[in-house]
C-alpha cells in the first residue's frame, strides 16, 4: 500500500518584504499508515510550514507531495478542498473551535459538508465524545469549556469523519503539561485503536517522549529521523 505521505525535494521560499526566507530546503520524507510521529525543532525551523504543505493548505515553491496516494500539486481549488475534507483532520494549537457552534455542531461540521445523514451524524458524535471523555457535553458551547476540553473536542472533530491522517500543530502548547500529557496519551490510544496516522509538531519534551517516531527539523532541513520502540 502507498504511504500516507510522501514528499520529494520539497522547498519553500517566502518572499516576505524583499528578503527571501528559505523555510524548507529540500525535504524527502515518507510517512506510513498508522504512524504516531512528532515533528520537532527550534522555532522557525519550518514545522508549521511543512504541515501546511503536506496538507495542501499551502503550496511548496518546489518539490512534490503525495497524500494518500494523490499527487497534491495537480489538484486545484474545489478538488483540493474536498480532498482535505475527506482525508485530513486538523488540530490546531489554539483549538480553533467555532465559538458560535455547540460542541456537537463543531464535531458534525465536516460530516455535514460530506452530507452524512443526520441520525448517523448524531450517533457518531456521541460515540467520539465518549472516546475523548466528554460524554454529556454535546450541547455546551466551546467558550464554556477548559482549554484541555476544547482541545479534546478539536481532536474529536478531526477524527469523527475517519480521515487517513490527523495533523496537529503544537496541540499541547496552550495547555498545562499534565493536561498535555493526558491529551497525548489519549491520542496514542486512539492511534492504536483506529490505526489513523497522527503527525504533530511540538517543542515539548514530554510530548516527544510519547512519539513513536521523531523527525527533527533545523533550518528547513531534516536533521535527524529516528524510530523508537515503545
Amino acid at each position: 500500500m502507498a504511504p500516507v505521505i510522501a514528499t520529494e525535494e520539497v522547498t519553500k521560499v517566502y518572499s516576505g518584504d524583499g528578503v527571501p526566507v528559505h523555510a524548507l530546503r529540500g525535504i524527502d520524507l515518507i510517512i506510513e499508515r498508522g504512524e504516531f510521529t512528532a515533528l520537532v525543532g527550534p522555532s522557525g525551523s519550518g514545522k508549521t510550514t511543512f504541515l501546511n504543505i503536506i496538507s495542501g493548505l499551502d503550496t511548496p515553491t518546489d518539490g512534490k507531495v503525495w497524500l494518500n496516494g494523490k499527487f497534491l500539486s495537480r489538484m486545484g481549488g474545489n478538488a483540493l478542498s474536498d480532498f482535505r475534507r475527506d482525508n485530513i483532520g486538523f488540530v490546531f494549537q489554539a483549538y480553533n473551535l467555532i465559538p458560535v457552534l455547540t460542541v456537537e455542531e463543531n464535531i458534525e461540521y465536516i460530516m455535514l459538508l460530506q452530507k452524512v445523514p443526520k441520525s448517523e451524524r448524531h450517533e457518531r458524535v456521541l460515540a467520539i465524545l465518549e472516546e475523548v471523555g466528554l460524554s454529556g457535553m454535546a450541547s455546551r458551547n466551546p467558550p464554556q469549556l477548559s482549554g484541555g476540553q476544547q482541545q479534546r473536542v478539536a481532536i474529536a472533530r478531526a477524527m469523527v469523519s475517519q480521515p487517513a491522517i490527523i495533523l496537529a500543530d503544537e496541540p499541547t502548547a496552550n495547555l498545562d503539561s499534565k493536561i498535555g500529557a493526558d491529551l497525548l496519551d489519549m491520542m496514542y490510544r486512539l492511534n492504536t485503536q483506529t490505526g489513523m496516522t497522527f503527525i504533530f509538531s511540538t517543542h515539548d519534551p514530554m510530548v516527544m517522549a510519547r512519539a513513536r517516531r521523531l523527525i527533527m527539523l533545523k533550518d528547513g532541513q531534516i536533521e535527524r529521523d529516528e524510530v523508537r520502540s515503545p
Binding site: 493548505l57 478542498s81 482535505r84 475527506d86 486538523f90 494549537q93 461540521y109 459538508l113 502548547a173
Partner: protein
Amino acid sequence: MMLKIAFRNIFRQKRRTVLTALAMIVGFTLSSVFIGWSDGAYSDIISMFTRNRIGHIQVHHTGYLDKPSLYDVIDSYESIGEKIAGVEGVEAWTPRIYSAGLGSVGDKTMGVQIIGVDVGREVRATRFDQKITSGAIFSETAAREAILGVGLARILKADVGGKIVLVTQGTDGAIANDLYTIIGIAESGDKATDRMACYLHIDDAQDLLVLDGRVHEIAVLVEVLDRVPKITAAIEIQIDDTTLEVSPWQVVAKSFYRAMQADRQGDLIGRMIIMLIVAIGVLNTVLMSVLERTREYGVLKAMGTKPRQIFGVVVIEVAFIALGSIVIGALFGASLNYLLSIYGISLPQEFSYGGIVFQTMYAAVTVRSLAIPAVTVLVSAILVSLFPAIRAARIAPAAAMRAH
C-alpha cells in the same frame, strides 16, 4: 449550518450589530419619511388641483377635450348626471357650460371665458362658495348676475354692484349680448383662470348661448382619489353612450399630470440617503468582523468549506441584520409618516405649486414609502457586504495554523 453560523454571528458583537442595524434603521426611517412626505405633498397637490378645479373625472361630447367647440354638447345632462351619481364611489357631479366672449365694464373691454355653473352642485362638488373673495354667490334662480375672476375684475376695474356687458355668439349663429350685475369676485387659485373667468348662472348661460338645457361638461368628484381609474370605467359602462367621452384627471390635465410624474424625484433622493448611510455604516463594521474572524474562516476552509460558502456566511449575516432593521425601520417610518399625516408640518413660508398655495405639508403612509426603503436597504446592504465577503472567501486556510 452556514445559516446557523451566519445567524449566531449576529449576536457575537452586540454593539457592532446594533451600530450596523442603527445605520440601516436610520437610513430606512429617513427615506421612508422622505418618500411618505413627498407622496403626501403630491397627493395634496393633486387633490387640491382636481377638487378645486377640474374635478376628478370629466364627461364631454367625444372630441370636445381635444378641440372644444360650442356645438359639442351633452344632451339631457340631468339624466346622465343621475346615472353618474349612481356609480359607487362618486361623491358629486356638476354641469358646466363654456364659451368665449367679450366683456365690457364701462369703457374697458376684455376677452373673457364665460362659464355657466349650477350653483348648488358646484358648491357641493368644488366648494365654489369658498372661492368668492368678495360679494355674494348666485341665488338659486337665474337673475342676470355675474361673478368675475379676481384678475379679470382688476383689469376691467370692475367692482361688486357694477354691470358687465357680455358679447358672444349663440348656437343659432347670431350675435348674442346681454347685461349682467356683478355680484361677486372669485379666486380659484389659478391666475390664468382668474384673468379670464366670468361665471354665470347656468340658466342665464343657456339663454345667452341658446343651448336649450344642454351643457359642455360634467365634472365628477369621487370619494377616494386612488379609485379614479376604476370609477372612470364604471361611469363609462353606466352611461353607455358612444357620443360621450369619460376622462380621468390624468387625461384632462395631461401636462399637469406629466409634470407631477417628472417631479417625483423624492424617491431617488430617498434611495440615495439610504445607500449612503448604509454604505458608511455597514462597510466598516463588516470589514472589521471579517478581519477579526480571519482565523475562524481559515479553519472552516481548512476543513473543506468552499469559498462561496464562506462568502455566503458573510452576506447572509448582513442580510439578516438588514431584514431586522427593515422591520424596525418600517415601524418607525410608518408611525412617523402617520403622525405627519395627521399633524403635518407648517411651512415657515408659503409655497405654491401649479397655482396652489401650501401652508402645511402632510405626509402619507403609502406602500411605496415602505417598499422602496426596504428594497433599497436590503440591496445596498448586500452590495456593501460583497467586498468584505469576497475578502473572507479568499482567506488562506493556512491562516488557521498561525497561532496569532
